[in-house]
Symmetry: C2
Subunit: 111 residues, 2 copies
Amino acid sequence: MNLEIASRQLEALGNQTRLEIYRTLVRAGTGGRTVGQIQDHVGLPASTLSHHLKRLIDQRLVRQERSGTSLICHAEYPAMTALIGFLSDECCADQTLTYRTGDCRKEATDG
Amino acid sequence: MNLEIASRQLEALGNQTRLEIYRTLVRAGTGGRTVGQIQDHVGLPASTLSHHLKRLIDQRLVRQERSGTSLICHAEYPAMTALIGFLSDECCADQTLTYRTGDCRKEATDG
DNA sequence: ATCTTACTTCCATGAATTTAGAAATAGCCT
DNA sequence: AGGCTATTTCTAAATTCATGGAAGTAAGAT
C-alpha cells in the first residue's frame, strides 16, 4: 500500500453511489451479489451501474466472477483492510503515545 | 457519521495531492503547519494549494487557525477516526465472526 | 499611511467525472 | 441458427474538478 494506490481507492469510494454499491456488496457477504441484484438495490440504469462497478473493479475493491449469464460481484476485503490500515497509520501517527495499546478507532470517534 | 458524509470525506482524501497534504499535517502533529510550510513541502503554487486545503477544510478533515499573518493548519484527528470507524464497520461486516476478537486490519492485510 | 508577508478568492481553461440511451457482447436454451 | 437474459461498451451531454496567474484581503512592521 502506498499513497498513490490509497488515493485511487479513496477516490473510487469517494462517491455516494459507489460507496453504497460497495456497502451492498460487503453486506452481501462472501456469496456476493449479481449486477442485477445490485441494480434492484440501488435503482440505477444498467450502464450507469456498470460504469461505477468498473471504477471499483479497476481499483481492486470489487471482483467479478461469471455464473452463467450473470456476473457475481464480491467485495475484496483484503483491499479494504489494507486501505484502512494505511489510513490508520496516517491518523494514528500523532496519537501513537496515547492509543498505542489499543485500537485508535475506538477511542476518539466521538469528538 | 453516515454514508453521505463518509463519501464526501473519502472524495476529499481521494486525490494524491490532497492525501499528501493531509499526511503532512498528520505527521506535523498537534502543532500543525502553516500554509507556507505545507507549500515548501509539497511544492505547489499558492492558489492550487489553497484550493486543495479548502476541500479538506470543507469536509472538516483539516482546521485552520490564524497566527499573525500565517494560517496554521491542523489535521482533525476525530474526523479521521470516525471515518475509519465507518469503513471498518463496512469492511468488517462479513468478517465479524472471524476477526471479532482482534483488529481486522492486522489479519487480512496480506491477502 | 504604506510596505511586506502570507494567504485567499476571482477567473479562466482543459481534463475528468457522471449520467444514461443505444448498440454490442456473453452465455444459455430450444 | 435464433431468441432470451444479463451485462458491458459506445457515444455523447452536462457537470464538476484541477490548475494556476492575477487581483484581493488580513495582519504585522516601519
